[in-house]
Amino acid sequence: MTYSPHTDADRAAMLKAIGVALADDLFADIPASVRAGRWEVPTPLVEQDVRAELARIAGHNRIPEVSFLGAGVYRHLIPSVVGEVIGRPEFSTAYTPYQPEVSQGTLQSIYEFQSLICELTGMEVATASHYDGATATAEAALMACRLTRRHRVAISAGVNPDYRRVLETYCSGPGVEVVTVPVDLGEGGSGTTDAGAVAAALGDDVACLIAAQPNFYGQLEPMRELADAAHGAGALCVAVVEPTSLAILEAPSEYEADIVVAEGQPLGIPMSFGGPYVGLMAARMASVRQMPGRLVGATRDAQGRKGYVLTLQAREQHIRREKAASNICTNQALMALAATAYLTAVGPQGLREVAELGMTQARHLVAALTDAGVAERRFSGPYLTEVAVRLPDAARRHAVLAEQGIVAGYLLARDEPALADTLLLAATELTTDAEIERLVVALKETA
């Protein structure tokens, strides 16, 4: 079906006004040699048939009965009220708020979002969002290069491997070199960034050190030491954080991170096979002119009414063009609104409960696996809600459980050969005691 309202009479009226006989006449300026010949698009479908088609395909997905999979994307409760907010067509079918007088809903909600991200991270200014945590990280690295006028960036191998790949791709543009700082992967080791390697990697041409807290392996990094090391070498510290953890962990401003980035998916956004998500970025006010992305600011109209506008737009592509800090045009406004609604719905107490429940269940899980003799922690040192465990023949056993509808976390060997037989298990507030028991029992049966 189509959504055009035009009847034959409507079309005839328009053609007559224009002064052509057929719609085809309006395409006469397409050179004959490039006119489309082939058009093997399937025939139209009415709504009930479209629904059947989409249900057919969705039915080919199997949603796990039990899942401990995290690795950068997390299964959290999305409060019903969040869906109501982002389902409002005034938010979803509006455009970027370039005409602020009729966009105060979008603009004020972005201002609230910026405020919330500043509050979580302890930083002074936050952007209106980026595509995801990976691109926010890459943009932060390039921002650090602009601020320091240096052309190399150092990134801990403890940062999500997907993010590191995206960073490499982004840096290949302006020819910025990426140095990877290894993580201590030894059995019973810290699972965190190797301090000696950090010192070796930081030269006077390194713009920033990027580290994650918690890191990809769920381990808590010594962020203060890493930031100090970076600053000592004249580099910036870019902290990649997990937003729900900030209810419990110190704000990155406490250890003097210069730029903070994160993936906002855990804040009320469905996993949806990888997207859309939302990238967060926050920094100090002193570096705002080098921050990529949109910013909303408060101001007043001529009658003194408070209102909100896109501001500092001269940084952006539509004005700065080839001198822009970034080419970003679309942000992820509706996802940022979801995050705003989520943080409002759970409040400070709720966010703390989300983090604490995840932590409790992660520890419960480790205790249960250890007690059953099924698996041991791979690393020592503190972790939050995600933890790496070692068990023999992990890949085969993971596959057996998958057949049963249980996803036993993430096989770390996929990215890191040194971590064969290691699973990354994530717990959230949705993880039940019964699920933990089921995982332990199922793993035991595959031994």
Binding site: T2, Y3, A17, L26, I30, A36, W39, E40, V41, T43, L45, D49, V50, A52, G59, H60, N61, I63, P64, L69, A71, R75, V81, E90, V102, G105, Q108, L116, Y131, T135, H151, Y163, V166, G173, P174, G175, V176, I248, P270, F273, G274, G275, Y277, M285, A286, T299, R300, R305, L312, H318, N327, T330, M335, T344, G347, P348, L351, L357, T360, D433
Partner: protein, 555 residues
Amino acid sequence: MSVAEAPDRRDASGRGAAFSGAAGGEELTVVEPLIFERSRATRRAVRFPSASAHALERAATQPQLPASVLRRQAPRLPEVSELDMLRHFNRLAHLNHAIDLGFYPLGSCTMKYNPKVNEWAARLPGFAESHPLDPEAMSQGSLEIMWLLAELLKEISGFPAVSLQPAAGAHGELTGLLMARAYHRSKGEGETRTKVLVPDSSHGTNPATATMVGYEAVTIRSNERGGIDLEALRAALGPDVAALMITNPSTLGIFEDQIDQVVTAVRDAGAIAYMDGANLNAILGRFRPGDAGFDVMHFNLHKTFSTPHGGGGPGAGPVGVSERLEPFLPAPMPVLAEGDAEEVRRNAWAGRSTPGVRFALDDDRPQSIGKVRSCYGNFGMFVRAYTYIRSNGDAGLRGISDDAVLAANYLRVSLHDVYDLPYDRISKHEVVFSGRRQKREHGVTTLDIAKAILDQGIHPPTIYFPLIVEEALMVEPTETESLETLDHFVGVMRDIAERAASDPDSIRRAPTTTPVGRLDEAAAARRPDLRYAFPGEPRPPEAPSAAPTPKGPTT
């Protein structure tokens, strides 16, 4: 700006009831406090269960976190009830104009109707609850829909290969230029081809992207017909040019009628021909850039393929590429690991599954430029776009362009006597007027005109773009607006033109019926207030003024 007297704020849009009880016609008072201002200690909306005694007991056997990493003060998130929260966001929603409320002829943005069945599809639990790293056997539906969408985009564009990974149009541009550079490097010309050519009418993302990829953007002028100047292009092409980025139809809404010669010239010079696909809504079924010799094009799923704009995203910017760029596409790519492509397509178009088929993610792509975002792209938008394309089908997609172009030309001929038309030719899906007559004769600018349109419950067209048109007013009606809506818009525009002559002050005072009037953007930029200041806190520190701004990285 200053106004001599405070204008009456009467609500012509009928939304007045949302603002503090004022009924339609009554004077509006201000708007909605910040959510922080509604906060009261210990109020809550959503609650979570307590951990069981068993869980707590097991957890207590594990080491606890060291005090040194713990937060000392809870973040000051709002504390509100669910009802108060919902009212807050609903009232904010009331302050927005949106496609679902009224006409939104923003040129270059393709503000067409966003079908709700697309939303139904994206929310199917099979899609919404699917984790991107689930075992492939559990994700066959997700991989299938990505593969099928790519197949459809290939058919629509004529390109032999498509990547869905870029998250937005600008992101697609980045991907395209990174692939161009990878291609040139593979030919040993990575260091010598340093320039990207862009028309002077281009969208700002084009030169910004060129810079992000370490290229120098060189501007090529347009000719008097509104197309790229072929001679200027030929003169600029040389062994130092990596690519041409061109929008077709152009940002003037005009089809590049020498496009065949443009592409030939670019390819003959060894450069990559990039088409900005923002204006695809004009040419579905009429022009396939892949057939015409382009090397790469980005699609805007949130424009042509109806996924909602969301107030500024999320979008999606897949890219289609020619054979010579295919090896450089981002990884991983959804592929058909088992099954015959022709049979799978045929069955899918008929609504049938193919037995024994298996989709997979191919990460073995040695020449790939890498990844441009985490996971595989904005998957939720793929579901919506696939739903849209299957709904419209072959005839529907062609009909979209027919009706979009018809509507734009109808507006062109209905308004070209009262507004200057710098390029007086057949348009495609959008038409660019100039407000220069109103400015010169009556001191009424395009900005003023736009604000006057706001008072009529219509979103203004795009203003001051493209840069090559003085006082530009870019109107894109799209194919989903009725003739009555179009005629109403014509009436509004003609009335504004008349008032610009007879009562210009009334235009310059606009808008007067919106929740706020014209806002002081200079103050917002000079003394930025970018976050809520909690009571007792100093106002956020200001951005540095006039400190030397460091230059970007150089190659």
